[in-house]
Symmetry: C2
Subunit: 363 residues, 2 copies
């Protein structure tokens, strides 16, 4: 933990200027591609720069220009396939425009989100894409700095209506409704929902649940609303015992589904709104020796190559993850470039992919 690494420092603009026998400013103009320089000196400078292996010092540049050509991305978990896919999209679009990306994970914690934002503001990123941590839909005070500093912000995947910023989201509610309707169309009336809001006191009825969801900030909340919509349209009574209320990890999902399965009036179908919820349900069914779709029909969220090679292939609501990322970045970059278009919410469509995990309900 001690000795110095030898660092051959990168040549500076002054050295290039000296080598080319001109002033610093002329070099800056040439290399920066602005102002005008006579072809002769231009060539001389270019030659000298190449000779010395000159590379502009981006930090010094940022210092004077105030821009870092870096975007910040804050999301729940980079390791999660959904966010990883979105990040890839953001990253691709950013790179295209000559920007790089700093990523921070929050694990759905508001504290970590605040810390992440602070880091990004301090690092002076040119723009921030934020997938807000799940939780209550209250003002996010840590975003005040972002606004005050005039840093462009785009909300990703989750909408916070108290924040006046562009947003890019999925039509979670409608897509979920469609999925549940596909179940209902096959005669299912007892449909389990994984995952509902984490709570000790499950909602008493649909209206109560709607009230809870109204204050939540949360993709699954929208999906639950879609579920409720489908039920309502079909005139199917809402049963609170068919909605999970536990911490969101696969084990809990398994346990919750096991609980539903033990009900005297057990569900004949399950709608799982995340991959973990689906695999948890599958695990529970396996434990009880139940088959899909013979015993229970299943619909999941987020497509993957696994879903389509399962036995049976799983019907899912597929989100355009990459596209979501690309659009987010484009939106953000437009603001960074100075766009003053009115704040807008872009809604991308998730698509229901029907495969073989849904069968008619047994009478």
């Amino acid at each position: 933990m001690s000795t110095e690494r030898e660092r051959t420092p990168s040549p500076t603009i002054s050295e290039v200027a000296e080598a080319a026998g001109v002033g610093r400013a002329t070099v800056a103009r040439t290399l920066g591609g602005y102002g005008s320089v006579s072809p002769k000196t231009r060539d001389r400078i270019l030659a000298a720069a190449k000779e010395l292996g000159y590379r502009p010092n981006s930090i010094a540049r940022s210092m004077t220009t105030g821009e870092t050509r870096t975007l910040g991305v804050v999301l729940a978990d980079v390791g999660n396939p959904f966010f990883a896919g979105v990040l890839r999209g953001i990253s691709d679009a950013a790179r295209e425009a000559g920007y790089d990306v700093i990523v921070l994970s929050t694990d759905e914690s508001v504290e970590q989100e605040a810390a992440a934002i602070e880091v990004l503001v301090d690092k002076q990123v040119d723009g921030i894409a934020l997938a807000p941590a799940a939780g209550r839909r209250e003002t996010l005070p840590h975003l005040d700095v972002v606004a005050k500093r005039g840093i462009p912000l785009v909300l990703l995947d989750r909408l916070v209506d108290t924040v006046a910023a562009d947003a890019v989201v999925i039509n979670n509610r409608e897509a979920s409704r469609e999925a549940v309707e596909a179940l209902i169309a096959q005669g299912h009336r007892r449909i389990g929902f994984v995952w509902g809001p984490v709570t000790n006191e499950p909602a008493a009825d649909a209206d109560d649940l709607r009230r809870i969801l109204d204050h939540a900030l949360w993709s699954d909340g929208e999906r639950l609303l879609g579920y409720l919509d489908a039920l309502e349209r079909a005139g199917i009574p809402f049963d609170t015992s068919l909605v999970t209320h536990v911490l969101k990890n696969e084990q809990q999902a398994t346990r919750a589904v096991l609980g539903m399965l033990a009900l005297s009036d057990a569900p004949t179908a399950i709608f799982a709104t995340e991959t973990d919820a689906l695999t948890g349900a599958l695990r529970a069914m396996r434990q009880r020796g139940l088959l899909c779709p013979e015993d229970i029909s299943l619909i999941g969220f987020d497509d993957s190559s696994w879903a389509s090679v399962m036995t049976p292939p799983m019907s899912v609501v597929a989100q355009p993850m990459h596209r979501l990322g690309v659009l987010t970045a484009e939106c953000l970059l437009a603001r960074v470039a100075g766009s003053d278009a009115p704040v807008a919410t872009h809604v991308l469509e998730a698509s229901f992919i029907a495969r073989d995990s849904v069968a008619p309900a047994a009478r």
Copy 2:
């Protein structure tokens, strides 16, 4: 694309100094936590700083200190679950130490890798973690700059022996050998391998193949070596037609496995060294109406919750992705902190998880 955003500029150290009625340096010392300051003025400065909402300008700091507290990570694809998992590990360890992470994907292209490295060097990251693009094991000239500039470098997942840098890898060869031996133990002698090297002229024999692999830089290459080892130990002749030689995407894997299945002496088991290879194999089997493990035994690479809820649950070689990332970051951060320990290669163990996708070979 025009009007200015109002940016309330962050207060500078001078403003704090003025507000507190002291010199700039005193403020710097107080806020920077070095040198010594009298408790009195210290409090006054802290109060003023808080009052003004002072935040140090990290760019200006980097300008003088030469460090950015940022790490660069270059990998094939952030959207890939394996790399996403590794990135999460790197990110966690980096954050712990007060560092942030810039990620760049290369899609296994050497050109993109070179471009990524250039970007990171220009951005003056304090260290770089690189999962080299698959390809020929030749010197990577774009790494010269990194060495010349004395930027710490850690190789990740793939070993390049021409580069003198720390490395963190998996025991691919041994883990694969074990997996294949598990197949052999069940009486399998015709074992398909997905994925081998992309080539038009498949190797004539095992030695030829070894020679090819010797020049390749590629995790699957090590895995293929492990396969060869297992075959050799068991005295099973190597058959080139059981190794795929196509582009690495799921469709190609499907096609290649379809080809193997059409062989008069078709494989009774398949070892798939990536998730895409496994799902491709499953898809091919499904198309031919073949069942796992009754007709074909299967072993995949990389665990996921999907693998364990499949019918049947898939046996896999599981890599400690998160740990791999953490160790990489720790290793890199130690160098950044100035460690001059001898260059080392850390080998993490992948573990074989036996589930139900392997059955005894039919006689």
